[in-house]
Each structure stands twice: as structure tokens, then as C-alpha cells.
């Protein structure tokens, strides 16, 4: 489709503000567009409207007190961010985690990944104009939130992981409900494929739109499903297996062209793979301790640093913690995936139409408070 676009006429540039209050910008993103008619000549994302000072708070909060902050950065993958932070501090301090806790954390993390992708699916198709899948996706998502609510007490911003395990044990009803949920979700995918994936309007709005090349991905530090859609098979769960991901048998879906349709297919397939991981984890979960309390009573890691990366729903999240031996981190830097994912748009949006820009913004799946920290 790109070949049919004409060359823009450069002496009639019009500056337009997209956001920060806009239904499709997924948070408070403002993109300053230089337009020639409907064609975008330059796109300049202006961020910072959700800046809350997490990194400064990280230096003013003890490690235990920072756990709620971690889930509020990317609130759609709150459990994954919690998990990453707990793992980073455990690695820094040398705290052991009991087996059962590892399985519980992995199951909750994968369920969080599914709920994040479901929400992305619903809002992306809503951005393109289709309202119905939003309601179906949120219905499935509510089931996940009910299960996670019953174990952690919160629907969205969990602080469920503790250093050395989790804060509350799970019962047999958790196992039964999760199994029933996975079965139900897998039976819903044919509906989603019939409603959206095979829909000719959806295909026209996503095929060939917003192509991210492998070189662009490497230059801008793109990670996650956006990277895998370009053809590079890199998933932190396989490249640097943390916790117990090396015990599970799952595939990493990879695209080929790097357009919005590939990103969509990669995410839907990732949901199926997450269901596989959950089923295997539920079968293998042992009985035992859920929290190594004595080891994590006083969290004063020895002097040093750690960089721990986990695969969150949007890509690779890195926690860079520098400890000076006290209860407060000396530096708490979080490398968030949406940073690179949004930055690549300065290159990708050049020469596209404004309507395509909405489709591209949606398919990239950014969460702005994560970038703004």
C-alpha cells in the first residue's frame, strides 16, 4: 500500500497535536505531528504527562516498600513487574525461593500476560472502529481478574510477590478455577479469529501498515512481541531462563514482515502459549512452603548491583538495582520496554496517513506511565 502514496508537498506543513487527551493514545501520550494534508512528515512523541518520580521514590523507599510502585508502572502487567522486582532483589540478596512459590508466581505471571494481551486486543480493535471484541475480551479478562483477586486481594495493581515467595498461599479452588478458565479461553479463540482475524476490514487496516524492520528494531531497542513480529526470535524466557521457565515446553511465535498484522498474530499466539505454560505448571506444582519468611525478614542486600530482565507483556523489563548495603536502594533504574517501542515510531510514522498512525500506535501496545515512570 505504501507504493501508492504520493510524495508529500513540503511547503504546506501543518502542525497538529494528537493528545494528550485522546481516546486512542492509551494513556497520556502527546504526538506532535507535522502534516502535509493527511500524510505525516514528522512525528514527535512528547511524553512525561504521567511522570510520578518512581526512580526517586525508589531511592526513598525500602526494597519492601517499593513493591507497590513496581506494579503501578505498567499497570497492565502488574504481576510481571512485581515478579521481576522480587527476582532482582532475591538475586542481589541471595534469598532462596521455595518450589511451590515459584510455580505460583509463574502461573500468576502468565495469567497477567494473557489479561494484558486481551485488553490490548479489545482496545486495538476498538481503535480501529470495532466495538464488539472489546466487550468479549473484557469478559474473559474479568475471569482472570476474579481469580487473581481471590489470591492477591487486588484486581489490577497487585503487590502479591514477596522476597522469597508470595504473600498468601493458593488453595485447590485456585487450581480448579484456573484450569476451567484456560479451557474456556482456548474455546473462545475460534470466535476471536472468526470475528477479527478473518475480517477483511481488519486485514486491510493492518496488513503492510507500520512495518518495523529488523535494523530499526535493533537501533531503537525494540523488544517483546514487536521485535518478534519482525522476525527476530528473542524472548527473555528462553534466552535467559529465570525462575522455572526452562522446565516448560512452549513455543515463541515469530512473525515475518513486521507489520501490524504480524504483531497481532504474535500476541494472539502468545496467549495460546501462555495457556500451555499454565497447564503444565498446574500439573507440576508441588506442595510446600509459599514464603521463605525468615530469609527475607530484613532485606539489606550486600553492596553491589544487579541487572535482572524479565519478559513482561510488552517486552523486556530490566531492573537495575545498586545497593549500598542499607535498606534503601542507592539507585533503582527500570528499563521499560515501551521506551524503545514508542521511540521507533519517530521513524515508522514518517510518510504514513493519520488514520494509519492510529492503527500503528495501537498495534505497538505502549503503556505511557511505564515510559514516564
Amino acid at each position: 500500500m505504501a507504493e501508492q502514496l504520493r510524495e508529500p508537498v513540503v511547503d504546506q506543513i501543518y502542525s497538529l497535536n494528537l493528545g494528550p487527551q485522546h481516546p486512542s493514545t492509551h494513556g497520556v501520550l502527546r504526538v506532535l505531528l507535522d502534516l502535509d494534508g493527511e500524510f505525516i512528515i514528522k512525528a514527535d512523541p512528547i511524553i512525561g504527562y504521567g511522570h510520578r518520580g518512581h526512580e526517586k521514590m525508589g531511592e526513598n523507599r525500602t526494597y519492601k516498600q517499593f513493591m507497590p510502585n513496581s506494579s503501578r508502572m505498567d499497570y497492565l502487567s502488574g504481576m510481571l513487574f512485581n515478579h521481576g522486582f522480587a527476582l532482582a532483589v532475591e538475586k542481589l540478596s541471595g534469598i532462596e525461593v521455595p518450589e511451590r512459590a515459584k510455580y505460583i508466581r509463574t502461573i500468576c505471571a502468565e495469567m497477567n500476560r494473557i489479561s494484558s494481551h486481551l485488553l490490548w486486543f479489545g482496545t486495538y480493535v476498538m481503535d480501529l472502529g470495532g466495538f464488539t471484541p472489546f466487550l468479549y475480551a473484557f469478559d474473559d479478562r474479568e475471569q482472570i481478574l476474579d481469580i487473581l483477586d481471590s489470591v492477591s486481594g487486588s484486581r489490577l495493581t497487585y503487590s502479591y510477590c514477596r522476597f522469597g515467595g508470595v504473600c498468601k498461599d493458593v488453595g485447590t479452588d485456585f487450581v480448579d478455577r484456573t484450569r476451567a478458565f484456560v479451557k474456556r479461553l482456548l474455546s473462545r479463540f475460534p470466535d476471536y479469529h472468526n470475528l477479527v482475524t478473518k475480517n477483511i476490514i481488519f486485514i486491510h487496516r493492518t496488513r503492510g501498515v507500520g512495518v518495523v524492520t529488523q535494523e530499526q528494531a535493533r537501533q531503537f531497542g525494540v523488544t517483546g512481541p514487536n521485535l518478534r513480529a519482525t522476525g527476530i526470535e528473542y524472548d527473555v524466557r528462553k534466552a535467559e531462563p529465570y525462575e522455572i521457565y526452562d522446565r516448560f515446553d512452549f513455543n515463541v511465535p515469530v512473525g515475518s514482515k513486521g507489520d501490524a498484522l504480524d504483531r497481532y498474530n504474535v500476541r494472539l499466539e502468545e496467549m495460546v502459549q501462555s495457556c500451555r505454560i499454565i497447564e503444565q505448571a498446574l500439573d507440576q506444582m508441588p506442595k510446600g512452603d509459599y514464603h521463605n519468611e525468615s530469609a527475607a525478614f530484613k532485606v539489606r542486600p550486600p553492596k553491589g548491583e544487579v541487572y535482572f530482565a524479565v519478559e513482561s507483556a510488552r517486552g523486556q523489563t530490566g531492573y537495575y538495582l545498586v545497593s549500598d548495603g542499607s535498606a534503601f536502594p542507592y539507585r533503582c533504574h527500570i528499563r521499560v520496554p515501551s521506551f524503545g517501542n514508542l521511540h521507533v515510531l519517530t521513524d515508522v510514522l514518517k510518510g504514513t496517513l493519520v488514520a494509519d498512525a492510529i492503527s500503528i500506535l495501537g498495534s505497538i501496545d505502549v503503556v505511557i506511565p511505564e515510559i514516564d515512570r
Partner: protein, 175 residues
């Protein structure tokens, strides 16, 4: 929370009598919110509008993207100092009669981000716009937001002192 710093609402110039009651009933049952999600609470607002906790049955399911077409602003999320001028501009762009719900702990008082040394946020939406209803929670459950809607409907139809939540406060207090 410091009440002396609260922004006071603008009083209407023309007051009708019985017609006002009928109009208030109509306004309360068709509150059109503006999509104004800033952070995590936005997701619970979306969930409140979705299929399980349907806001449409209260007449409030039509989220308008433009402030000119809406009469309710739900400040959902932390207000950063960079965003504060935009909030004021959006509030000014909304036509009267308009109401505001401050959803979540961040919009009420800065929430979990308010600490001695915070440089980046505005601790509370009441410092920028006149807030009618405060819905606490981090994030509040969608049922909590719906209770906020019902309290606002009560406040619109029956007056400042008579909404669901205030019925439990003693009259003459300073809350």
C-alpha cells in the same frame, strides 16, 4: 486534605424552580463522561464501562472523547505537574452544567505517590477543579465507581447534602 484550598464551583446565574428538578432528573440519568484516564484507574473505568459492570444501564456509558460534548469529568489517575494545565484547560472547555468525580487515591490526595520529597505530582484534583464526588481506592473497584455515580446522581437530584454518602455524615460538620 485541606478544604481551604479547594476550588469553589461557579454558581449559575439563572435559577429555575420546578423546571430545575425535572432538568436535574434528566441530567442525572444521562451523565456523559469524558474519557480522561491518566493512569491505572483508567483501566478500572474502562472495566466499569465494559460488559460486566455496564455503566450504560445508568445512562452513562457514552464516553465522549471531546470535552465539549461531555458533562462529567472523571479524573482517573495521578495528576503530574506537566498534565495539570491540560486538566484545567479541559475543565474550562466543558460547558455548564458540569460535574467532576475524583477517582482513585491519586486524584484525591496524591495516593501512594505522595511523600515528603515528591516533586512531580499535584496531590489531589481538588486543587485544580471543583470536585463533587471522591471515590477512594487504589484502584477502586468498578462497583466503587458505580457507587460514586449513584452518589453523584443523588447529589444532582436532591442537592449537596442529600447524596447517598453524605447521608451518613452528621449535618453541620466540616466534611
Amino acid at each position: 486534605m485541606d478544604n481551604s484550598q479547594r476550588v469553589q464551583p461557579v454558581e449559575p446565574v439563572i435559577k429555575f424552580a420546578l423546571l430545575e428538578d425535572v432538568l436535574n432528573l434528566a441530567r442525572a440519568n444521562s451523565l456523559w463522561p469524558m474519557t480522561f484516564g491518566l493512569a491505572c484507574c483508567a483501566i478500572e473505568m474502562m472495566a466499569a464501562g465494559a460488559s460486566r459492570f455496564d455503566l450504560d444501564r445508568f445512562g452513562a456509558g457514552v464516553f465522549r472523547p471531546s470535552p465539549r460534548q461531555s458533562d462529567l469529568m472523571i479524573v482517573a489517575g495521578t495528576i503530574s505537574k506537566k498534565m495539570a494545565p491540560a486538566i484545567q484547560m479541559l475543565w474550562d472547555q466543558m460547558p455548564n452544567p458540569k460535574w467532576c468525580i475524583a477517582m482513585g487515591n491519586c486524584a484525591i490526595s496524591g495516593g501512594p505517590f505522595e511523600y515528603d520529597g515528591q516533586y512531580a505530582i499535584v496531590p489531589g484534583a481538588h486543587l485544580l477543579v471543583p470536585v463533587d464526588i471522591f471515590v477512594p481506592g487504589c484502584p477502586p473497584r468498578p462497583e466503587g465507581l458505580i457507587q460514586g455515580f449513584l452518589a453523584l446522581e443523588d447529589k444532582i437530584t436532591k442537592g449537596e447534602d442529600r447524596n447517598i454518602l453524605r447521608r451518613f455524615h452528621r449535618k453541620g460538620g466540616n466534611s
